[in-house]
């Protein structure tokens, strides 16, 4: 189990942050290598994610659910996926909450994520998977901040 807890401060209003985080299309644009697929009747989405583990690149096909609580400005993302070859499975659950900064203006986003990587990929990346997940979370923060600031997203 890989646990990542992140606190991101952004110079944008809570409403502006919420608009991004509650929009799956906008969120996916903040995740490098991610693409959004179809929306199903039950409200879940298909998604694709290209992840680099060292020199290996793995494409995951996932399905995720987004549960939102607009009054509380909290949300929960649950995703389950497997790679194209079916040898690796990934399970990720993330909660996020948007609040005002203690010293306005600005907002704070609290992210708690739990990720499990199992199967063949887990055998070859050992501890590296944790580093990759942490890196991806930080990259997400960077891209989200850039989007809210209206600055270009760079690699």
């Amino acid at each position: 189990m890989i646990e990542v807890n992140q606190r991101i401060e952004v110079p944008a209003s809570t409403q502006a942050v919420w608009e991004v985080l509650s929009d799956p299309h906008a969120v996916v644009e903040c995740v490098k290598g991610a693409s959004l697929g179809e929306r199903h009747e039950d409200g879940s989405y298909d998604a694709g994610l290209l992840v680099s583990f060292g020199p290996a690149k793995v494409t995951f096909r996932a399905q995720f659910n987004l549960e939102l609580d607009p009054p509380a400005m909290t949300g929960k993302v649950s995703s389950r996926g497997k790679d194209k070859q079916g040898g690796t499975k990934i399970k990720a659950d993330m909660t996020f909450a948007v609040t005002e900064r203690p010293e306005p203006p600005g907002s704070v986003i609290i992210i708690d994520a739990k990720t499990e990587v199992s199967g063949r990929m887990a055998m070859i990346v050992e501890g590296g998977a944790k580093m990759v997940v942490e890196h991806m979370t930080k990259d997400f923060s960077k891209r989200l901040t850039a989007r809210l600031n209206g600055t270009p997203i760079t690699d």
Binding site: S52, F53, G54, P55, A56, K57, V58, T59, K84, Q85, G87, R120, M121, M123, I124, V125, E126, G127, G128, A129, M131, V132, H135
Partner: protein, 550 residues
């Protein structure tokens, strides 16, 4: 003649010219007779190391290596080496004494049959004295045909009985008809069809291709289809002097540039390579590739889970030659990977630009290894140990040498020094170097004395970071106390001198150069204790533990 004498004659008739092991009351009379017959009896300091030497002998020659141990506690010492040799597919016979059948309460009693099975090895027992010939013949037959170790268990008291049959011993080779399996022509046509559709083919060669002498055939096929060539770890550097598009090892010991190129492959042809999880990175190194496998085994399950898209049951040489012939008849050629851009990417692809701060009194192992590869002439063989240090030596020792042995097999440390001694004994004691870690070398340090005693011109370069390297980095990544993995060592150069060899302790590249050149000028048993900085993590470890690729 006593039965132990007959047993010794039988071993000699099987072509045995050397043994490795320790004398005890369960094998001493047999060893004494072998000595009388002119067989070279190598007395070692640990039975397991003796079996490791027989393993090295077998790896170097593909002939049956012979080890020996006395009953009970002598035999149990063989465990790790047995499994290692079995995983290495080395044909071996271990002559093991067994407690007397007439004394089931003997203090050294032991059930070797269960032991052999647990050690992934075959088992043959001489149940009665008159089965001596049959037992030896069966043990050698199984070793030769199954390519694995066979424990031949011979009760002590039965060895002392009289042998009265004067018929000549009939060796196991008379029961074996060597064959080179031919490929099915229809299967080859399917492979040729697949190749015709491929834009980016990679050929991965393994020891099976080396054993079958398929080198020229592989190069010819690669030229025709425009393949990038790679090897398994066990065949490392093979054919890199015959192909400009050689990408090195396929797997975690590969360079970043080569792995990025492999990622684009649409076809992988494995020739005499098991295509295990390490070679294919569980398939992730070649995510979009179809797999063809040419191998002499009836079937192979790649990385334990799936079969190739097309499996060609054939001798590596015969199969490759005939595939090339089918393509030639179709007048098929392809540029594939053979472009100036790929050539440029593969030039200096081993460069590792990442900088680390070096601990005082130590050196960066990377330029040190590169220098060793440059100043040790290519007629000198190389043995690379396992453990953390192999992440450096397997990647950076690039020049082709007569023997280039590497491998993890059972994933244990300490096994390469015995294997190196055995391989050298098998090939006329020609000079060789071994690169290994400090914990690995120290595990069978006593066998350096064996190398001295038998005048082996072996240079051991100990990449000494005074730690259990793998564990050090695994603790570090988990932010745990790395000191628990650190073990200080004495000056191993001085230890080597005390054991009768030469030695040096080096802390910088100039001292290393001087010591290596001294050995190159006059090869003999020598240890260079090369103090390296723990701050330098190998590329494979950076990938495994940090998900980084630089």
């Amino acid at each position: 003649m006593k039965v132990f004498q007959r047993l010794a004659h039988a071993f000699q008739a099987e072509g045995v010219t050397a043994t490795f092991g320790m004398m005890g009351d369960g094998n001493m009379f047999w060893l004494h007779e072998l000595h009388n017959l002119g067989v070279k009896v190598h007395e070692v300091r640990h039975e397991g190391a003796g079996l490791g030497m027989a393993d090295g002998w077998a790896r170097a020659t593909r002939q049956v290596g012979v080890a020996t141990a006395t009953c009970g506690p002598g035999t149990t010492q063989l465990a790790t080496a047995f499994v290692t040799a079995s995983r290495a597919e080395s044909p071996l016979v271990a002559f093991c004494g067994e407690h007397p059948v007439s004394d089931p309460e003997y203090s050294q009693r032991f059930n070797p049959a269960i032991f052999a099975e647990a050690c992934e090895s075959g088992f043959v027992r001489m149940h009665t004295a008159d089965q001596a010939d049959e037992a030896v013949r069966k043990a050698f037959f199984l070793a030769r045909t199954q390519n694995r170790p066979i424990l031949l268990s011979v009760p002590m008291d039965l060895q002392q009985e009289e042998w009265e049959d004067d018929e000549p011993y009939v060796p196991s080779t008379t029961m074996i008809t060597p064959t080179r399996p031919n490929p099915d022509p229809d299967v080859l046509k399917r492979v040729a069809d697949l190749i015709a559709k491929s834009k980016k083919p990679v050929i991965i060669v393994g020891r099976g291709a080396q054993w079958a002498d398929a080198g020229d055939a592989v190069v010819k096929l690669g030229d025709r289809i425009g393949a990038m060539l790679a090897t398994s770890l066990l065949a490392k550097t093979w054919l890199n002097d015959k192909c400009d598009y050689h990408a090195g090892i396929s797997g975690n010991y590969g360079s970043r540039a080569s792995m990025q190129l492999m990622h684009d492959a649409d076809l992988v042809i494995g020739i005499g390579a098991s295509l295990n999880r390490y070679t294919l990175e569980n398939g992730y190194l070649y995510p979009d590739a179809q797999i063809v496998q040419i191998d002499s085994k009836p079937q192979v399950l790649m990385h334990g889970v799936s079969a190739a898209n097309i499996y060609v049951h054939a001798d590596a040489k015969v199969g490759t030659e005939q595939l090339e012939k089918v393509l030639a008849e179709r007048k098929f050629t392809n540029t594939g990977y053979r472009t100036p851009d790929v050539k440029k990417k593969l030039a200096h692809h081993w460069d590792d630009p990442t900088q680390f701060e070096i601990d005082p009194g130590t050196m960066d192992p990377r330029p040190a290894i590169i220098m060793i590869d440059e100043i040790v002439p290519t007629h000198i063989s190389l043995f690379s140990g396992s453990g953390m240090s192999s992440g450096m030596s397997n990647m950076l020792m690039q020049r082709r040498r007569p023997m280039n042995q590497a491998g993890h097999f059972f994933g244990c440390i300490g096994q390469m020094l015995p294997a190196a001694i055995g391989a050298m004994a098998a090939t006329g004691k020609k000079p060789a170097i071994m690169l290994d870690g400090d914990a690995s070398f120290l595990m069978h340090l006593a066998e350096f004395e064996t190398a001295v005693r038998y005048e082996m011109p072996l240079l051991v370069v100990v990449m000494n970071n005074q730690a259990l390297g793998a564990e050090y980095y695994k603790l570090e990544v988990k932010k745990m106390n790395v000191e628990t993995s650190q073990i200080p060592t004495p000056d191993l150069g001085s230890v080597a001198v005390a054991l009768g060899g030469k030695g040096a302790l080096v802390r910088n590249i100039d001292q290393l150069r001087t010591a290596v050149l001294e050995w190159v000028a006059k090869p003999g048993p020598m240890v260079i204790d090369m103090r390296i900085s723990r701050t330098v993590m190998s590329i494979p470890y950076r990938r495994l533990h940090y998900g980084k690729d630089e």
